[in-house]
């Protein structure tokens, strides 16, 4: 961002600013003429869509914070006041509430696209890892945001999730007391959660900036997984991808708006419209849908791990579940070193492709398991057994299958370059 060569702008005001602070030159370089692979498909929309959702959440969130009161006696009523009395408050809240879900939809697709096309591989490892940091921050932000309305699910979700930290040996209980600021989830917990819920989105914004910066150093990956070699392989970002992103964004917003206006509570849980009551637990505590696969992994570990034939327990069932849940995401940090196969795109990997798609099915199935009560059954067998099996495949995929494939999978022949592959396809289509 130094004072490298600059083409003067015709507009004198723009030129006056740009010669002192070259923001226009930067925008022109990074978003105007930025060379972008010419073969993106619509899966490459979701980075821009996620960015749009982050801005939507911050803007609606700031306005909602002006009407919200963080106090156990007042929170629930202040949210109901937003719904009934504040001008257009219902709209702001429904945009924000469903926005969390749609932010996660965009980000899950974005992450899966990265796995499928090998976007995490050299030289984009750090770009990928920053993305995992963003995902973890999003999970934390969404969780504490769900606590703020102080309904039954807010309270009991907060209780169950903060209790997870008590599984940490020795210091667990002190950590939980520190998180709560008391001896149960209560007013001190709510006020600090509100402060953090306001802070974390800006932290996310900062990490997104680094994520995009890293992206503009390496350039984007593409469906073929080949690096662009010549000018024939790329297009300027504007107008080609500003247009493609805008189109995808509009389609996404239409679906988002359908939820906001026609089924605003479809993704939520009705119990959260009951004020929090520390004396009564809802019969079935479920987290928001975007946590369900991880919640299923938490519950899949129902056995202690110890030294066989003795009573010595090394990892209790509770700690084991917590390790499985956090480990399932932390694994993504080392994904670039678990999958070291030289071919990026799944299109040219006959074994990786079906096994990764199976992982997607496995992940969605885990979501189903997480949504059911712990004693549910499937085909006459306890559902928890299927949950354990699905958790097993998830970990086996990353820890066994990927390293094995990296050494042994024979890939298909790669095209010589992006433009040759694109032109050959166009010729075939005639």
């Amino acid at each position: 961002m130094g004072s490298s060569e600059r083409t003067p702008f015709e507009n004198p005001v723009v030129e006056w600013v740009d010669s002192r602070l070259p923001v226009f030159t930067m925008m022109q370089k990074e978003y105007g003429v930025f060379p972008t692979p010419r073969n993106f498909n619509y899966l490459w929309n979701f980075g821009a869509i996620a960015m749009f959702m982050l801005v939507t959440m911050i803007v609606t969130g700031i306005v909602l914070a002006m009407h919200y009161t963080a106090n156990t006696e007042l929170s629930f009523d202040s949210v109901e006041r937003i719904m009934r009395d504040v001008n257009g408050g219902w709209l702001l809240r429904y945009i924000h509430m469903n926005g969390a879900s749609f932010f996660f939809i965009a980000v899950y697709i974005h992450i899966f696209r990265g796995m499928y096309y090998g976007s995490f591989k050299k030289p984009r490892e750090l770009l990928w890892m920053l993305g995992v940091v963003i995902f973890l921050l999003m999970m934390a932000t969404a969780f504490i945001g769900y606590v703020l309305p102080w309904g039954q699910m807010s309270f009991w979700g907060a209780t169950v999730i903060t209790n997870l930290f008590s599984a940490i040996p020795l210091v667990g209980d002190s950590i939980v007391t520190l998180l709560w600021g008391g001896f149960s989830v209560d007013n001190p917990t709510l006020t600090r959660f509100f402060a953090l819920h306001y802070l974390l989105p800006f932290v996310i914004f900062a990490v997104v900036f680094l994520h995009v910066w890293a992206l503009h150093v390496t350039g984007s990956n593409n469906p073929l997984g080949l690096e662009p070699k010549t000018k024939k392989d790329t297009l300027p970002f504007h107008p080609y991808y500003t247009m493609k992103d805008s189109f995808g964004l509009v389609v996404f917003i239409i679906i988002y708006a359908l939820f906001i206006f026609f089924m605003p509570n479809a993704l939520g849980h009705p119990d959260n419209y009951i004020p929090a009551n520390p004396l009564v637990t809802p019969a079935h505590i479920v987290p928001e849908w975007y946590y369900l696969p991880f919640y299923a992994m938490l519950r899949a570990i129902t056995f202690d791990i110890g030294i066989p034939f003795t009573d010595i327990v090394i990892i209790s069932a509770k700690l084991g579940g917590v390790i499985a849940m956090f480990g399932s995401i932390l694994l993504w940090f080392v994904l670039p070193w678990l999958d070291t196969h030289p071919i990026r795109s799944a299109r040219f990997r006959p074994l990786f492709r079906p096994l990764l798609l199976l992982l997607l099915v496995d992940f969605i199935f885990l979501g189903y398991v997480g949504s059911q009560s712990a004693d549910a059954t499937l085909l006459g067998l306890p559902l928890s057994a299927f949950g354990l099996l699905a958790t097993g495949y998830y970990f086996a995929f990353f820890l066994v299958i990927l390293p094995w494939l990296s050494k042994n999978e024979k890939g298909r022949a790669l095209p010589a370059s992006i433009h040759e592959a694109v032109l050959a396809k166009n010729k075939k289509a005639g």
């Binding site: 209780t159 007391t177 600021g181 520390p278 019969a283 079935h284 009560s373 712990a374």
Partner: protein, 174 residues
């Protein structure tokens, strides 16, 4: 630069960085400590309960540290069934004698040791589970008349809070 002055430079940089790290920790400590339970929260850490209003066979739920505490006035049969148990049948081995101050009064924290739900069984019309004590509707844990886990996913017995009898009719929890 001589090798000697390079060593000096390294030493100064390392001590500078170390002092900086200690300084950051010193600044962070009071802020993190402020998140621990405040004095007014700690002041609520004990509560006195009049138990003379609980008839035999009935129970009462009181709040202590934001958590429900179950106080049960046990009947003779309930005490007997709690004491007449083979230790090998218990997942978390504790005798009933170790869990009560006076046999007719059972005081436990009313939070399931599995994932923190509140078990049912306080009212006589409630479900009491297979062992006549409490039943947790979340994931199906059964507790006996001593609040011990007998069946289901919970790992431990219902916790007994610290409490003492101030008089025959008043207990102080905490």
């Amino acid at each position: 630069m001589t090798a000697d002055s390079e060593d000096r430079r390294d030493f100064l940089q390392l001590t500078g960085a170390a002092f900086g790290a200690v300084g950051v920790a010193c600044v962070a400590a009071p802020m993190i400590n402020s998140l621990n339970p405040a004095k007014d929260t700690l002041a609520l850490a004990s509560t006195e309960v009049d138990i003379s209003t609980i008839p035999e066979g009935e129970a009462k739920t009181v709040m202590w540290r934001g958590k429900p505490v179950f106080i049960r006035h046990r009947m003779k049969e309930q005490i007997e069934s709690a004491r007449d148990v083979d230790m090998n049948d218990l997942a978390d081995k504790e005798t009933d004698e170790d869990r009560v101050e006076k046999p007719e009064w059972l005081v436990t924290i009313g939070i399931c040791t599995h994932l923190g739900c509140v078990p049912v069984g306080q009212k006589s019309s409630d479900v009491h589970g297979d062992y006549g004590g409490w039943f947790c509707p979340c994931h199906g844990s059964h507790y006996d008349t001593s609040g011990r886990i007998r069946k289901g996913p919970a790992p431990k017995n219902l916790a007994v809070p610290p409490y003492e009898f101030i008089s025959d009719t008043v207990i102080k929890i905490g």
